[in-house]
Amino acid sequence: MTRALALIPLLVAVVFGGFFLWGLDPDRNPNDIPSVLISQPAPEFTLMDVEGLATPSFERADLVGNPGPVIVNVFASWCVPCRAEHAVLTELVESEGQRLFGINYKDKPEDATRWLAELGNPYEKIGADSTGRAGIEWGISGVPETFIVGPDGTVLYRYVGPVVGDNAVEKFREALVQAGALERGVSG
């Protein structure tokens, strides 16, 4: 075995060590998923409506010029947390008067229709993203994800995962307050 060959393991270990040292930076939180979209204009996208559903579809233009911020929720009938989240979103729409748009991500139209028939449909408009293209544009990392979009079409906030449980709901409501969609102290 030559000397150079015997050095390789050490060199690899040193390189790894360098990355580890960098990774230990106390300001770094690996659980934090930033969005490149925050305070950027919402991405360009056009969606078809969900086949067999009366709810109309929407595109980027529908997110611009609204009187207040709107919520854009990415959901799917195959996604279990979405079921859990559904009640929270419904509550926001029905008792708080929020406006909710849905992106139905990689779903079969008949499944989505049945799902909404079963749970109720709080969405004002729903676009069918059967290919997942819009999901890529929005940079989602999974389903569900929920965005708050300002009247000028700017993405103000992104929530990854289901808005379920007191903590998450509190966080999301706070974001709505900040966005000016909700008055502080009003409780559901």
């Binding site: 015997a6 690996p30 859990a84």
Partner: protein
């Protein structure tokens, strides 16, 4: 007062370790036999004091001594006794104490049972082992003292994470640590050999039982962890390529490679520097696992309370131990003389392929696990995650050829093998395996080609292993009585190998069946709802509230029918632990050899859910999943059989002449 005794004992163990890390090493260098032998007493002393420390912590947990911070954070007076005990290693500090205890146990075991190991090698090995002890005990004393007190003491504890309150999991860490830490002694042997500058067949023979023992524990530990994920977490799966799973899997893969390359070093005096490197890397990967789990470097469902300062300390430990040993390797390995020569077709070559594949597979897992970190560092903060699709796509195609080679390998003879002859013998096996696969395809239909191909290889491995055994005992070639005599006389290590190889084949059926032919239904149910899955008709009967010792649960009742006949009742639970303020899902499983019917329930959203008491019911059918546990048990048992082989039994007198083992020509090929 006992916590202080524990703390003090830990400090004494450190003192012992410091002495042991210097004195025997110096003794070996100067040929001072007394100094070398001091390692025996200091290693026993380390175990003694580490045990006292551990018992002190155990006592604090068992008596629910809430003046100890660690007990407050991880226990509760109402918790069942088993989990009070398990709580002592459920936290970062406690598990570290267990780590140290096992580390010292292995050191002492070598000094007690390793009477056939030359004094100087033993002394150096124990010194290296003591360096590791020093590193970890100081880590505990300076950053993670399990005996810290709180004042004023709270009335009751905060409870152990409810997910961890499971019998399987109570046993999982000790076994896993025995595996992880067991490789430390192999590492110490390797470093000692590098310091001595001598590696030979005898060295490999002394090291093998320890490798085997560590490997057995690690196998059992990983299998138990996987079992826990499957039965307790209610995720409906047994492996998720989560970083923490991966870091336990990497030492296993490397350790498996080491186990096999050490055979070559032992029998043929070849692969020496490679075996040494594997010994170093296996333990390095164990250390890396400890680092990743405890530093918060990567996101994971596991992870202890995270503290960058601790991370920095372990990174320092890593730099010294891994960096130091690899530097030593780079310095000393090139001068080690190469050993036995072999042809490209030989058992050595077969084991080389085994090693290359296992090392590549380890590299893939390592790369996939750390890629998010690399990516984030190189792109300046952008994140991504590497999930099962990557691992499945990269890992499985690498491992399948290994399974093929595993069928052939045991037929190959050392030095030079007759490949056409081997294929001749395996012709029938190959034909039968193809026929069996076709039969399975005919019955099952559907499913990807890769699934059937994997099944084919699993059958191939199983039958080739069986065939190898029948060839050994000359079944049907000689009278049956003669075969029986041969079977009885085969060394246990041969049975160990066959059992372990067959075990992998059996486990493969489970891996394949439950990942390729799994069916899943997620539905919203109300009492009376019916679901059909994999030929079963499942009816959700209703929900009742039950009360456990430290939780309340909603228990669903499901009736399972098949073709109009009653099959089983399932009771999945959704538990709430008021003290820890958390929920767990207790899945219900109807387990048969053909497959598991697996049900779990969850309440949608919170109380405000307007769904009128409806629940989310998740039902899965996982075919053949029990084969995984059976196969794992066979792996462990096979390792145990091999370990109990007379040849490896530590301290047993050698058979035959008292001549020093230099070559193994006389010993039957393994």
């Amino acid at each position: 007062m006992t916590p202080e005794i524990g703390h003090f004992a830990l400090a004494l163990a450190l003192a012992m370790a410091i002495v042991q890390s210097v004195l025997p090493m110096l003794g070996a260098a100067r040929g001072n036999i007394l100094w070398m032998q001091s390692a025996k007493w200091s290693s026993l002393g380390q175990v003694f004091f580490a045990s006292i420390a551990f018992i002190a912590l155990l006592q604090a947990f068992v008596t629910s001594d809430f003046t100890v911070k660690n007990v407050v954070e991880n226990s509760h007076s109402l918790k069942p006794m088993l989990f009070k005990v398990a709580g002592s290693w459920g936290s970062h500090e406690g598990s570290l104490l267990l780590w140290v205890l096992i580390l010292t146990v292995f050191g002492a075991a070598v000094s007690v049972f390793g009477s056939n190991i030359p004094d100087s090698l033993k002394a150096r090995t124990l010194s290296v082992q003591a360096w590791i002890s020093v590193g970890f005990i100081t880590f505990m004393l300076f950053t993670s003292n399990p005996f810290d007190r709180v004042f004023p003491p709270p009335v009751d504890g905060q409870d152990l994470n409810p997910l961890l309150q499971d019998v399987g999991l109570a046993m999982h860490p000790p076994l896993l640590y025995f595996g992880y830490v067991g490789f430390s002694i192999v590492f110490s042997f390797a470093v000692a050999a590098l310091i001595e500058g001598r590696v030979d067949a005898a060295w490999a023979r002394w090291v093998r039982p320890w490798t085997l023992a560590a490997w057995i524990s690690l196998t059992a530990g990983i299998a138990l962890g996987s079992w826990w994920a499957y039965y307790e977490l209610g995720w409906g799966g047994w492996w998720f390529w989560d970083p923490v799973e991966n870091v336990s899997f990497m030492p296993w893969l490397m350790g498996t490679a080491l186990l096999h390359s050490a055979i070559v070093t032992e029998k043929r005096d070849a692969f020496k520097s490679w075996t040494i490197l594997l010994a170093i890397l296996t333990f390095s990967l164990s250390l890396l696992g400890t680092f990743i789990v405890r530093s918060g470097l990567l996101t994971s469902v596991h992870a202890f309370a995270v503290d960058p300062e601790r991370g920095l300390y372990i990174l320092g430990l890593l730099a010294v131990s891994i960096g130091g040993s690899l530097a030593l390797f780079a310095w000393r390995a090139p001068v080690m003389e190469p050993g036995g020569i072999f042809k490209p077709i030989s058992r050595e070559a077969g084991l080389l392929i085994n090693n290359l594949i296992l090392a590549t597979a380890t590299g893939i897992v390592l790369f996939g696990t750390l890629y998010p970190l690399f990516y984030e560092a190189l792109t300046g903060g952008q994140k991504l995650s590497v999930g099962p699709p990557f691992f499945n796509a990269a890992f499985i195609p690498i491992m399948l050829p290994l399974v093929f080679v595993m069928g052939i390998g045991p037929f190959l003879s050392w030095k030079r093998a007759d490949l056409p002859g081997v294929f001749q013998r395996l012709r029938v096996v190959a034909v039968l395996a193809v026929l069996a696969t076709l039969a399975i395809w005919y019955v099952v239909r559907g499913g990807p080609v890769l699934g059937y191909f994997s099944i084919l290889l699993a059958i191939w491995l199983f039958m080739a292993t069986l065939k190898e055994w029948t060839v050994r005992i000359k079944l049907f070639d000689v009278p049956f009585a003669e075969s029986r005599r041969r079977a009885a006389n085969l060394p246990r290590s041969v049975y160990g190998m066959s059992l372990a190889h067959a075990g992998l084949a059996v486990a493969m059926f489970g891996f394949i069946g439950s990942s390729v032919w799994k069916t899943e239904e997620i539905v919203f149910v109300r009492p009376g709802s019916q679901i059909e899955i994999a030929g079963f008709d499942v009816t959700f009967e209703g929900l009742e509230r039950v009360r456990g010792p430290n939780y309340v649960a909603d228990r669903g009742k499901l009736t399972v029918m098949q073709d109009g006949r009653f099959v089983a009742e399932l009771f999945p639970e959704s538990r709430y632990y008021p003290v820890a303020e958390s929920n767990t899902t207790e899945s219900a499983i109807r387990s048969t050899m053909a497959g598991d019917l697996y049900a779990s329930i969850a309440r949608p959203a919170s109380e405000e859910a307007g769904a009128g008491g409806a629940l989310t019911l998740r039902i899965l059918y996982e075919p053949l999943v029990n084969f995984i546990w059976i196969g794992s048990a066979m792996l462990v048992l096979g390792g145990g059989l091999s370990l109990s082989d007379r040849r490896l039994r530590v301290g047993a007198p050698r058979r035959g002449s008292a001549k020093k083992i230099s070559n193994s020509a006389k010993i039957p090929a393994e």
